[in-house]
Amino acid sequence: MNEFLGIIQHKLHMAVLAFMGIAYVLRIIWLLNFSAARERTLPAGQPAGVVVSSLLAVAKPWTREGSNRNPVFYVQFVLFHLGAAAAISLTYFIPYRPELLKYGLFMRTLQITLGAAFVVGLLRLYRRLAEPSLRMISTPDDYFALIMMTAFYAAALGAISVNSLMMGNGPLWAFFLMAAFFHFYVPFSKIIHYLYYPFTRYYLGKTMGHRNIGNGKISGLS
């Protein structure tokens, strides 16, 4: 049975990671096959700084009205994504750096993060089901991706909690099998949004910078 765990922790994990990497490359090639619109105007501002600012937009909730009105939603966003980072990190820590999980503070931090992300996942699922405008735009993939992520957090929490309590390998199998499926499914789902984010933000920031949008200063007469 431990041999099976070894296979899913190492070989299967590497295989799905390689698959995911190839799928990502193909998606980027596909996206770059669309020709970029060319800007023929003289610039009114400097794009470089605005591009950086645009790329960091996700970390600047105060710049968006939705986050200003509902900061709790932004906190949920942060916790949910920290949960993703924690769960994915565990697919490396458990097989390759298990000694880290012996540090109580580190372990507690991971557990709290994953627990919070799990709760946020449930809240997000409730919101998606309860709000008519969200229900209207939600696809089966939107629901499935959310449920899968929430379950992934639960599996990760179970894996490290059970691991520390020495209660058997069942939760570890569940976690690594889920991780394998997660990595396999990501290129086909909306979870791939983080791959597109830099491109979308880059082009928006470039346009804004070129046109001096949001600079707050009077532009040089062009």
């Binding site: 669309f34 986050s67 597109y196």
Partner: protein, 449 residues
């Protein structure tokens, strides 16, 4: 086999189906990397609904969310341009077969429930440009002829006459002559010249046809400022209309034609600069989008007349008396000027020179709400009811300022705001910046007085 059976099954061809069948190819031909990014990046988080005046004014209506509206064209993209949508259409929310696309419904969504204000774009955590997707959908519908009549009419006017109000060359010249006489009378001088097709001027001036046909006050004011500043300027005989319904209809060819007329006129007359009168979409079209549509590399500066006035005031070429205007004034940022073109502080700088009681409305600048008449909605009366219903957001915003006057730098906003002020019975007047500058202008001593 009876006659009905024989006629069914598209054997004789169904125009509606044939039209819908063209959509994927048109989408494929028009999409670029920027819009493709916006197609694939939306995660359906719903945050855009927090910033859209349609969604905010109708919170009970799930059809008003910007993501839903953009999804109507995204579905077609997913179905035909993304292999995942081709293989698993239902799973990723791709549309059904194109022939089943209800183009009339799509038309009502993209023309009737979005003013392209781009507020949702800047409030999207992912940077999805829903407004660009809506414009893309409009352009495709325009191509297949599924378009509101009013929009179609104005586009036809621009194609046929080179201006949106069917002003003939004779009427144009006649109006300019009248404007010259009026300026001479008001200034008490007799050497005002409004040149047409004059070569080697400092700048070529492009106007909104309403300044020629219905409301010459803006042109009179501009001519007055230019005279006092000692400018050498001209209007082109052809290409003087800076408005561009290619922007609203999504028709890049019309956009290229209208903007190209002006660029060609500027080149032909060897103008050193292009100046655009106060108009939101006109400024955006001439300054930014037009060069790209026309595939014309910008070589000469292109500016709003507001930037020209700033230069005059800074350099003392015209002088104003700030104490003259006692009414409280607030400023409405045009979406095309602020969110698309980056002019936010410029109008405020002028207003602070001429108004003693200037009050900001909130939110403002890049976060301002649309006047609700943007993107050609004023020429599509079938959407007037919903436009005025969602205008309650703007009406509340205006009312809260307690100002006597709302100033804008866009003809379209002027009409849109006027409409909602009348509908919501607000005690407020709408003016443009040039009106206020003219009111505060210190005229030189009249000759012989």
């Amino acid at each position: 086999m009876n006659a009905n059976t024989h006629l069914s099954g598209n054997r004789l061809g169904d125009p509606a189906l044939a039209t819908a069948g063209r959509i994927p190819a048109l989408l494929r031909a028009r999409i670029n990397r920027q819009t493709a990014c916006s197609m694939v990046t939306c995660v359906h988080c719903g945050e855009c609904a927090q910033s859209c005046h349609y969604a905010l004014a109708r919170p009970h209506d799930p059809f008003m969310s910007p993501a839903y509206k953009a999804d109507q064209i995204r579905k077609i993209f997913n179905r035909h341009l993304d292999w995942l949508g081709r293989v698993f259409p239902r799973w990723v929310g791709a549309g059904g077969k194109t022939e089943e696309t209800d183009l009339s419904r799509l038309k009502d969504i993209v023309f009737g429930t979005c003013s392209g204000c781009r507020r949702c774009t800047f409030n999207c955590p992912m940077g999805v440009d829903n407004a660009a997707l809506i414009r893309l959908a409009r352009g495709i519908l325009m191509e297949v002829g599924v378009v509101p009549q009013g929009m179609s009419n104005v586009c036809r006017n621009q194609w046929e006459m080179g201006n949106q109000m069917r002003v003939t060359e004779e009427d144009f010249i006649d109006s300019l002559s009248w404007v010259r006489d009026e300026v001479q009378y008001e200034l008490g001088v007799n050497d005002v010249e409004i040149g047409v097709d004059k070569e080697d001027c400092d700048f070529i001036y492009a106007v909104n046809p309403r300044e020629v046909k219905y409301d010459p006050r803006s042109l009179i004011n501009a001519a007055k400022f230019f005279y006092l500043a000692g400018e050498s300027w001209t209007l082109p005989r052809h290409g003087w209309d800076q408005t561009n319904f290619g922007l609203f209809s999504g028709d890049d060819r019309l956009g290229a034609f209208m903007a190209g007329n002006l660029y060609q006129a500027a080149a032909r007359l060897r103008a050193k600069r292009i100046v655009v009168s106060e108009c939101g979409h006109g400024y955006r079209s001439v300054r930014w989008e037009g060069y790209n549509w026309a595939k014309h590399n910008q070589t000469i500066p292109t500016e709003s007349v507001i930037e020209t006035i700033i230069r005059y005031l800074r350099e003392g070429m015209i002088k104003v008396d700030r104490s003259r205007y006692r009414a409280s004034v607030t400023f409405h940022d045009s979406c095309n000027v602020a969110r698309y073109s980056g002019l936010v502080e410029e109008p405020r700088w002028i207003l602070k020179q001429i108004c003693s009681d200037f009050r900001e409305m909130h939110p403002n600048g890049m976060n301002n709400f649309c006047c609700t008449g943007g993107s050609g909605l004023l020429v599509m009366p079938e959407y007037r009811d919903i436009r005025l219903e969602v205008a309650k957001i703007k009406a509340e915003q205006l009312k809260t300022t307690g100002a006597d006057v709302v100033c804008t730098m866009c003809h379209n906003c002027r009409d849109g705001l006027g409409d909602l002020i009348s509908h919501y019975q607000l005690d407020m007047k709408v003016v443009q910046i040039m009106d206020l500058v003219a009111g505060a202008l210190i005229l030189p001593e009249k000759q012989g007085s």
